[in-house]
């Protein structure tokens, strides 16, 4: 498989270019900054949560295509999920990249599987995980 097949697939490039979730949420219930000091990727994640359900998710910042695509997919996948469901998606996503586990995402968020190829490029795994690790930190703060 070439890098273009593995990493730079159309789904990833579309999510990288998408501006839909690349914005600040004023008055977000939760927000946190995540950074990879070795490469300068630096983003801020915003979540709006009402009655334990994610009503909106967005991000801002700078990162490579893998990092930004991953952040956009994260935002897309969290809409209308409970914080418990969000934790489950996070767990599956990390398992897919770190433990080589076969993911089982719901159909409407199966685009997340496009990130699976990243596991073949160890130096880029941290790019893909940055938004998710930032999410993990946010969810840890939710009772």
């Amino acid at each position: 498989m070439s890098l273009e097949d593995d990493l730079y697939q159309e789904i990833i490039l579309e999510n990288y270019r998408s501006k839909k979730n690349r914005r600040k949420i004023e008055g977000a219930s939760l927000h946190a900054e995540g950074a990879n000091p070795s490469c300068g990727d630096d983003l801020e994640l915003f979540l709006s949560i009402e009655d334990d359900v994610v009503t909106d998710a967005s991000y801002e910042g700078v990162g490579c295509s893998i990092c930004c695509a991953s952040a956009n997919l994260l935002c897309e996948s969290l809409h209308d999920r409970s914080t418990q469901e969000a934790r489950e998606i996070l767990k599956q996503f990390k398992g897919m990249l770190l433990d080589d586990l076969e993911p089982d995402f719901a159909d409407e968020i199966s685009d997340l599987e496009a990130m699976q190829g990243v596991k073949n490029y160890p130096v880029r795994i941290k790019c893909a995980l940055l938004p998710w690790n930032t999410l993990g930190g946010l969810l840890d703060g939710v009772q």
Partner: protein
């Protein structure tokens, strides 16, 4: 008798095929492609003679230095100290100065930050550096200033990453006690006019540290004509092993300093409550040093001296000129650093349109091209450029125009993915 393959210092051409054959890494392929190693700013490849010298120590000596009374320990001590002499000759430091071995440039700067700045500086004193420095020549000063109450000041930088030397007199004042500046930026290859900076420092009786990590391995250096108090550099960027670096210091300054590392091998007499210390430079080399690394650094100095530093510098100037010329073919390239190539060493930093440097680097890797991507341990300079990172190609004696062609051809692959 074996003839030297290389002309002496007046030569400006290198026998690249012969040179490249001496580097085992250049015989490898990367991602199935010809290996175009353009990350020499990060570390250099090693010739067989350096690898053999490191192995020689472990297979034929393997003894500690300055201690044993047996043959192999004596021989190890002799070879270790010979490297000190070789390095001194290499930078023109045979008299009035000392060579201290450290584990690298970063440690060498910390020896000065702890042993000099923290010892002698206080509130009201100023330390002058620049925004183009590698973090290694910035963070130790930040901390030393915090600890002593001294103030850190900066020679202003132009948008192209060169320094505003007209402002020297405003920044270097009677309060300045140390000026710490790079001889060559690891991001743009810009080489500031050191003579002018050092003259301004001398006029204020300030001590001068030159960060030679990017410069010493690529250009002839003479510390006496440069008239710096400290010159720091790393072995691994000059065909030597990792884990060994050099602090050159003028004896009159080094004599006043405290060591960073205390312990064995740097003492003359130890009693329960106090100790006395060896003369310089041994006082600054506490503990068992990187003996194999130092001996192999000696082989690296021999190798570079034989090739000739003038010839290496000229070769890299040619490569930079070729790189700049080829880069003009690619409209999408945004480049960094002064346009005046005579003020630059063999480093070329760029971005491909707004493609993130990591994406560009990952695609170049697929073409067998090794470049550095990111902020290059120089975040303040990235802020000057208004970017989070760049792609950096950095050249050395074994690079050819073929390597640059591979890089330029690789840009097509970036265009293929990102448009």
């Amino acid at each position: 008798m074996k003839q030297s393959t290389f002309d002496r210092q007046d030569s400006v051409t290198l026998d690249l095929d012969h040179l490249r054959a001496q580097f085992p890494m250049l015989q490898r392929r990367m991602r199935g492609k010809r290996f175009a190693y353009l990350d020499n700013g990060a570390t250099s490849l090693k010739p067989e003679s350096v690898i053999a010298a490191e192995q020689h120590y472990y297979t034929e000596l393997s003894a500690n230095i300055h201690r044993g009374v047996y043959e192999f320990s004596e021989q190890a001590t002799v070879e270790y100290d010979q490297t000190r002499e070789k390095v001194a000759r290499f930078i023109g430091a045979e008299s009035d100065g000392s060579i201290v071995f450290t584990k690298g440039t970063t440690e060498a700067i910390n020896v000065v930050a702890y042993g000099f700045v923290r010892k002698f500086f206080g509130p009201g004193d100023e330390l002058v550096t620049t925004e183009i420095e590698h973090h290694a020549n910035l963070v130790p000063w930040q901390e030393a200033c915090k600890a002593t109450g001294a103030t850190l000041r900066f020679i202003p930088v132009n948008p192209d990453g060169s320094l505003q030397l007209d402002a020297l007199e405003d920044v270097i004042t009677e309060r300045t006690k140390l000026v710490a500046v790079t001889a060559m930026s690891n991001v743009t290859g810009y080489m500031p006019d050191l003579a002018r900076i050092i003259a301004a420092a001398r006029a204020r009786e300030a001590v001068v540290l030159v960060d030679g990590a990017q410069y010493v391995s690529h250009h002839p250096v003479n510390v006496r004509s440069l008239d710096c108090d400290f010159l720091v550099f790393s072995g691994h960027k000059m065909c030597g092993p990792t884990g060994v670096g050099v602090l050159y210091a003028k004896n009159e300054v080094l004599e006043q300093m405290d060591p960073l590392i205390y312990g064995g091998d740097m003492v003359t007499k130890v009693r329960r409550d106090e100790a006395t210390y060896k003369p310089i430079p041994d006082r600054f080399e506490g503990g068992t040093p990187n003996i194999a690394g130092v001996i192999a650094l000696g082989a690296a100095v021999d190798f570079l001296s034989q090739v000739g530093m003038q010839a290496i510098a000229a070769h890299e100037r040619d490569l930079l000129a070729y790189m700049v010329e080829r880069a003009r073919e690619v409209d999408e390239l945004v480049t960094y650093g002064p346009d005046d190539l005579s003020s630059r060493g063999g480093i070329f930093s760029f971005n491909y349109a707004d493609v993130h440097p990591h994406d560009a680097g990952a695609l170049l890797d697929q073409e067998g091209v090794a470049v550095r991507t990111g902020f290059h341990c120089a975040q303040p300079l990235m802020q000057v450029f208004g970017v989070t990172g760049t792609v950096r190609a950095s050249f050395y004696l074994y690079n050819s125009t073929e390597d640059i062609d591979a890089l330029v051809n690789g840009l097509a692959r970036i265009k293929g993915v990102f448009g």
